[in-house]
Amino acid sequence: MKLKRILIAEDDPYLSKVMRNYLEERFIVDLAEDGGETLEMIHKNNYAVVLLDLIMPVKNGFQVLEILQEEKNPTPVLIFSNLAEKEEMDRAISLGAKNYYIKSDMDIDEVAKAITKFTEGQAK
């Protein structure tokens, strides 16, 4: 079975490290440390899903979403952020994010499950 390729856009090195280590067992995982890098990677590769943090250097998550929307890029994006305000959640969803997860509410295995579930749903 061919592993799906996913992108983790996360500026916090410690978080991205844990996420990558965990998810690498099920996916081919790429890392982006800022918004600029994220867009580059999306343009370069074809991802089953992008795990997007909102607070990031160079270009923040909202800016990334806006650009993708403008480009009509079909790459599905899931938001993983610690911003917990409804306003931000609504904004992200309206900009095309498929779902919104608050990181601190989740265990690391739940993150993996969510991604797996999403990608499987996408496949069907």
């Binding site: 500026d11 916090d12 090195p13 410690y14 978080l15 490290k17 844990v18 996420m19 280590n21 965990y22 440390e33 800022d34 909102l54 607070i55 990031m56 250097p57 160079v58 923040n60 998550g61 909202f62 610690n82 911003l83 917990a84 305000e85 608050i102 990181k103 601190s104 265990d107 690391i108 295995d109 993150v111």
Partner: protein
């Protein structure tokens, strides 16, 4: 005063004189007056009548007696004279003896004269008898007449005498005749003269009478006229004067002057009227003075009450004015009745301008949900209808659209059973709301800031647990967990520092420091490792001459490391941070220049405020509490230094810290800050 007494005395004097008449009733007075005048007129008439009668009598007497007497005497004289002349003729004829026939004619004449004489004598006698006069005149006349008649008879009888004798006889007769004639004429003339004198006297008397009558009538008329005038005046005085004085005093009393009494001197009807009037006046005065006294008392009462009220009012006003809460009173139609100073300053309106105007035309109300709140609407109308006070948090929107958050209490003003308006007391909660907002912001920020390292720690530990059998993994994760925890501690330190800076005065403890060395060590120890991780460069050129000055090393370290930390955080990978150190007049300048995201002009204004993070910064980096620059500002304030920024969005920023060459010591117990860790 003296004059008045005199006047009074004069009145009194007059009154005594007039009292007997004055005391009579007016009816009697009028009767007396008219009666006197009529009496006078009658008297005048009577006297006139009497005088006229007297005159008439005198005239009657004259015409009845004196005139016939005179006539009789005249007849007698003419009879006598005829006899004399006839005798003389007769004697002459006889003497001559010429014509005897003619003598006979002369005899007839003599007889005729005799008859006339006798008749006159008889008439005279009758008158004398009638008038009751004495007979002396008559006797006299009678004797002369008789002698005259005797001579006449003698002469006639001597007709036969001879010529010689005749001459003698004629001469004798003639002599006798002449004597008798003389006597006769003398007595008749004397009587005539007497009678004439009598008549003249009578006439004179009558004329005198008439004159007297005229004069007395004139005098009486004039006197009556004067008496009439006098009486008229007197009675009009007696009747009218008291009425006039009554009238004068009435008008004085009407003006409230009770000092004058009606002086009346007589006990007639007007006197009685004056008495009643004076009684009425004194009663009135009593009543009036009683009333005046009462009014005075009442006025004094009212004044006292008013004063009390004023004091109370002043107290209340002071009380209301000194209250920090705004107080506003509205009538039932929502119009402003009054408001206190606090309300004026809070709402930015002045009572003078808004009194009587609808409250809603100056202030719009919104409830907590942001919906318009009208006086007519629930729940404020409840205050009117249910007469219950309510408390609510509302937003006052002023005419300039600025908002005030007010804790508002609205209570009805109840007068008896009626609600006559409402009183609203409000406290400006805008500051509290802002503080609350800041708190909310802080909590959301802090929770977010804390959530990130906590998430890290959780996931790291979960992974470390999962990988516990792989030693390298386990160790790496555990060390990662420590770093994340430290990041969290640093954040907590920042928070604590802020609360310390806000609550107390910072202690400053300067020590001589070589600043070049100080900054080099800071870069080397704290900043370089972080920069290395992001492949960023830190450039610091130590000045040629050492800059040694007294600084509080902990505090300045905090400032510089915070700024360097920011510069690294908000710059992309591979960028350069340049640090400068310069000595200027009396101060030292340390600049930290980056090539990061920059700060807009608008954001620069609020950059040093507590919890302020620019939107760009907040979405750029999770780390960063929004407290660093605030802490820097506070520290430099305590050290008499300053901090400024020069920046353009996307073009990097330069923060310049300026500290005095001599930092004053400020020893205060307590406020010790936690050190900052660059991360």
């Amino acid at each position: 005063m003296k004059k008045r007494v005199n006047k009074k005395n004069k009145h009194y004097h007059k009154s005594i004189l007039l009292r007997p008449i004055g005391n009579l009733k007016i009816r009697t007075k009028l009767f007396l007056g008219f009666f006197t005048i009529i009496l006078l007129a009658v008297t005048v008439g009577a006297i006139g009548y009497q005088q006229t009668t007297k005159t008439e009598d005198a005239w009657l007497e004259i015409s009845e007696f004196a005139l016939p007497e005179m006539r009789a005497l005249e007849d007698m004289r003419s009879g006598g004279l005829r006899i004399v002349s006839s005798i003389n003729e007769f004697l002459l004829l006889g003497y001559l003896g010429t014509a005897m026939g003619e003598q006979k004619t002369e005899l007839n004449y003599i007889n005729e004269g005799k008859e006339g004489l006798m008749e006159g004598l008889e008439e005279f006698r009758v008158l004398m008898v009638k008038s009751g006069d004495d007979f002396e005149n008559y006797q006299n006349i009678h004797s002369t007449v008789s002698s005259l008649l005797a001579i006449a008879d003698e002469a006639v009888s001597n007709d036969t005498i001879n010529a010689e004798q005749r001459d003698t006889v004629v001469a004798d007769i003639k002599e006798e005749l002449e004597e008798a004639e003389g006597k006769f004429l003398d007595s008749v003339n004397a009587l005539l003269i007497y009678e004439r004198e009598e008549v003249d006297e009578e006439a004179e008397e009558i004329t005198e009478y008439i004159e007297i009558t005229q004069k007395s009538l004139l005098f009486l008329s004039i006197t009556s006229l004067f008496i009439g005038i006098l009486l008229t005046y007197l009675f009009s005085y007696l009747i009218a004067n008291p009425i006039i004085s009554l009238r004068n005093i009435t008008s004085k009393i009407a003006k409230g002057d009770f000092s004058k009494k009606v002086h009346h001197y007589f006990s007639d009807e007007i006197g009685e009227l004056a008495d009643s009037f004076n009684f009425m006046s004194s009663e009135l005065q009593q009543l009036y003075s009683g009333l005046e006294k009462k009014v005075k008392e009442k006025t004094a009462d009212i004044r006292t009450a008013q004063k009390k009220l004023q004091t109370e009012k002043a107290k209340l006003e002071t009380f209301l004015e000194s209250i920090g809460e705004g107080i506003i009173a509205l009538d039932t139609k929502g119009r402003i009745v009054t408001l206190n100073k606090s309300a004026e300053s809070m709402l930015g309106i002045s009572l003078k301008k808004v009194i009587g105007q609808p409250f809603k035309s100056h202030i719009k109300l919104k409830n907590e949900g942001g919906n318009p709140l009208l006086i007519e609407d629930h729940p404020i109308s409840d205050v009117m209808t249910k007469r219950k006070s309510i408390f609510l948090i509302s937003t006052f929107i002023k005419k300039d659209k600025s908002k005030l958050y007010m804790a508002t209490t609205i209570a009805p003003i109840i007068d008896g059973k009626k609600v006559i308006g409402l009183i609203s007391t409000f406290r400006d909660m805008t500051k509290e709301k802002e503080v609350e907002q800041t708190k909310t912001d802080f909590i959301s920020l802090a929770s977010h800031q804390l959530r990130t390292p906590l998430t890290g720690i959780k996931w790291i530990l979960q992974e470390a647990d999962r990988m516990k059998n792989i030693k390298e993994w386990r160790e790496e994760y555990l060390s990662d967990a420590v770093v994340s925890t430290e990041r969290m501690i640093s954040l907590v330190h920042d928070l604590l520092n802020v609360s310390r800076l806000d609550s107390g005065i910072l202690a400053v403890d300067p020590k001589k420091t070589d600043l070049g060395e100080f900054i080099s060590r800071l870069i080397k120890v704290d900043a370089q490792p972080v920069a290395n991780a992001k492949k960023q460069k830190i450039v610091f050129k130590k000045p040629a001459n050492k800059i040694i000055t007294s600084i509080d090393q902990d505090l300045i370290h905090q400032v510089i490391s915070n700024l360097v930390s920011n510069a690294l955080r908000y710059s992309e990978k591979g960028k350069t941070i340049t640090i400068g150190l310069k000595k200027k007049k009396g101060k030292i300048e340390i600049s930290i220049k980056d090539q990061g995201i920059g700060v807009t002009k608008k954001d620069q204004e609020q950059l040093f405020e507590k919890f302020y993070r620019t939107k760009d910064a907040a979405l750029y980096s999770t780390t960063g509490s929004g407290l660093g620059l605030y802490i820097i500002k506070k520290i430099l304030l305590a050290c008499k230094g300053t901090v400024s920024i020069e920046s353009k969005k996307g073009k990097g920023s330069t923060f310049t810290v300026s500290i005095p060459t001599k930092t004053p010591t400020k020893k205060v117990n307590g406020a010790q800050l936690f050190s900052h860790t660059i991360s």
